[in-house]
Symmetry: C2
Subunit: 334 residues, 2 copies
């Protein structure tokens, strides 16, 4: 691994501060990820190299490492756990992109677009099973209990996502069940497994923190899809609407829509390939009906609960970093 390759990770100042207490160990996590997916097969090596180049902000491993350090004495196996969590996340992204026929992820071509649909299905399976094998090697059934349940919940989230399409009657409860399955359970597990590597007494507090943080994280993500600038996020704005994905801003805006606004929204969901004009109109309609503000307030509620969950933890730079991670999630622009 060259330094240049490592520097590709897009890290903002805010995230850099959060990662401060675990920066050195985070480098080991990257090395561990490489070691876990290494293979004799050139094709696998090639795709893995691409995937590890396009890896993101390492937010989940950061949470695992921070959680493990809450009592000041993190166990070495936290590195492995953090790598496994990130590889599971990566496997999910690869299958997501394949299912959605996405062409870009984090500004780089997806596996399905760069290689093929076949390769992306197989590589998702490869990453997941390799991560799992590395987890089995740790030799502690408790980790397997947590992460296998989460892995299954992630697939249920994907299935719920299919139901969140083309449905103007997709409810707030449906939405919360969806984002819990597809996002919050993994952030919760990242924190919980971290806790089991040096801060076991805070296991349930950290699991709760991760879960609430995950809810806020996904809501912020879904708001960002309405407001984002493609130059920053690496994907076009209004993508969810383009794909007929119903998210919180629209759900909470619905009761406030004018008859005219509602007709335009219905038109979008009845149009197979909505154009930029139609998408732009619906984005504006949702914003005018207060959808973004209301969604943001829902996110703040979860953010507040995440902060409350940290109350029992001892004061330390690690705890501060976990608190800062909440603001980071709420304020991020990509």
């Amino acid at each position: 691994m060259t330094t240049a390759a490592r520097q590709r990770t897009p890290v903002t100042d805010a995230l850099r501060a959060i990662q401060g207490p675990v920066r050195d160990r985070l480098e080991f996590v990257v090395d561990e990820m490489h070691a876990i997916v290494s293979s004799d097969l050139p094709m696998i090596e090639q795709v893995s190299a691409h995937l590890l180049r396009m890896r993101g902000k390492m937010f989940r491993p950061t949470l695992t490492l921070l959680a493990s350090a809450v009592c000041g004495d993190p166990q070495p196996r936290a590195i492995r756990l953090a790598a496994v969590v990130e590889l599971m996340h990566l496997a999910t992204l690869v299958h997501d992109d394949s299912v959605d026929h996405s062409v870009l992820r984090r500004g780089l071509p997806t596996v399905n677009s760069l290689f093929s649909h076949q390769v992306s299905v197989i590589m998702g399976d490869f990453l997941y099973t390799r991560a799992h094998a590395a987890l089995v090697d740790v030799g502690d059934l408790e980790f397997l209990r947590i992460l296998t349940t989460v892995a299954n919940e992630l697939t249920i989230g994907e299935m719920r996502q299919l139901a969140a399409v083309d449905g103007l009657d997709f409810s707030e409860d449906d939405y919360f069940a969806l984002i819990r399955s597809k996002t919050a359970v993994l952030l919760s597990a990242a924190c919980e497994t971290g806790a089991l590597c040096g801060a076991a007494r805070y296991r349930s507090a950290l699991a709760r923190y991760g879960e609430r943080l995950g809810m806020a994280f996904q809501i912020a993500d879904d708001i960002l899809d309405y407001t984002s600038d493609s130059a920053v996020t690496g994907k076009p704005s209004g993508l969810d609407l383009r794909e007929h994905k119903v998210t919180l801003p629209l759900i909470v805006a619905r009761p406030e829509l004018t008859a005219q606004g509602r007709r335009r929204v219905e038109e979008l969901f009845a149009t197979e390939d909505p154009d930029d004009q139609l998408i732009g109109d619906v984005v504006a309609i949702v914003a005018e009906a207060g959808g973004l503000d209301r969604a943001h307030r829902q996110g703040e509620r979860f953010a507040h609960e995440a902060e409350e969950a940290l109350a029992p933890l001892p004061d330390s730079p690690v705890r501060s970093a976990l608190t800062d991670a909440i603001s980071y999630v709420m304020d991020r622009r990509s």
Copy 2:
């Protein structure tokens, strides 16, 4: 589960005899599979119901149950293990069909054709992670070690399969590495995990038996693709050639091809969508060059080694059934 649904399982007389010693427990395996994949989500229930209807001959669970009964006192957890092995196999088939865009499997529509590509990718992940969670519940790391390694090896097999396409230089060694990864390791694990449920002292003998049986099984399958009648197998013959998949009959025929025959084979691999005439010609060319006979002899070699592996086992109807399973694999017509 109605009796009618159970009777859909296509079982020949030979297989029925092999399953004799474990017939009652095999019914429990079916129930266990249903229990493992049960879900509140209607979409998942619908796809699972379809998949369990199209389940095949339950050959792998049969091996697990037989292996567990070699010493006459099988443990109850063998049922769970057999169900997990079959669900892992099913998950692989679902992704295989998705990757290959297959429309039929065992004479029924595939998940990707009946539902969608999206659903098949997600359901493969769902089945696999559910099976794994059920395995974690058993609480024995040894099973996880065996089956997680196998799960990863299966994905490597899939990746090797991609390299077995369009390649007239795909060697015999490449082929054996491929069928070991994609077939033999799972049959071996079916037997090995079974052994750990009541016949631990024969663990390595049964693992070896399963591995050799798996090699013979896949060779027979690949020969069948050249000789099969679609009315029996539920899929058209020459399918591998149609998809440019190089298997043993062609590999062992290659040195014996006439210049004319070789040109025709090259033509097939250079043709994007070969027609029935071209496929039929290559099937005949491979047969005339002795490819089927030579491949069959290779299969017999593995069959013989499978039989040798059974030598240490005590004489019993269970051992006889395992021996009969070898002939069944060699002689089957579907």
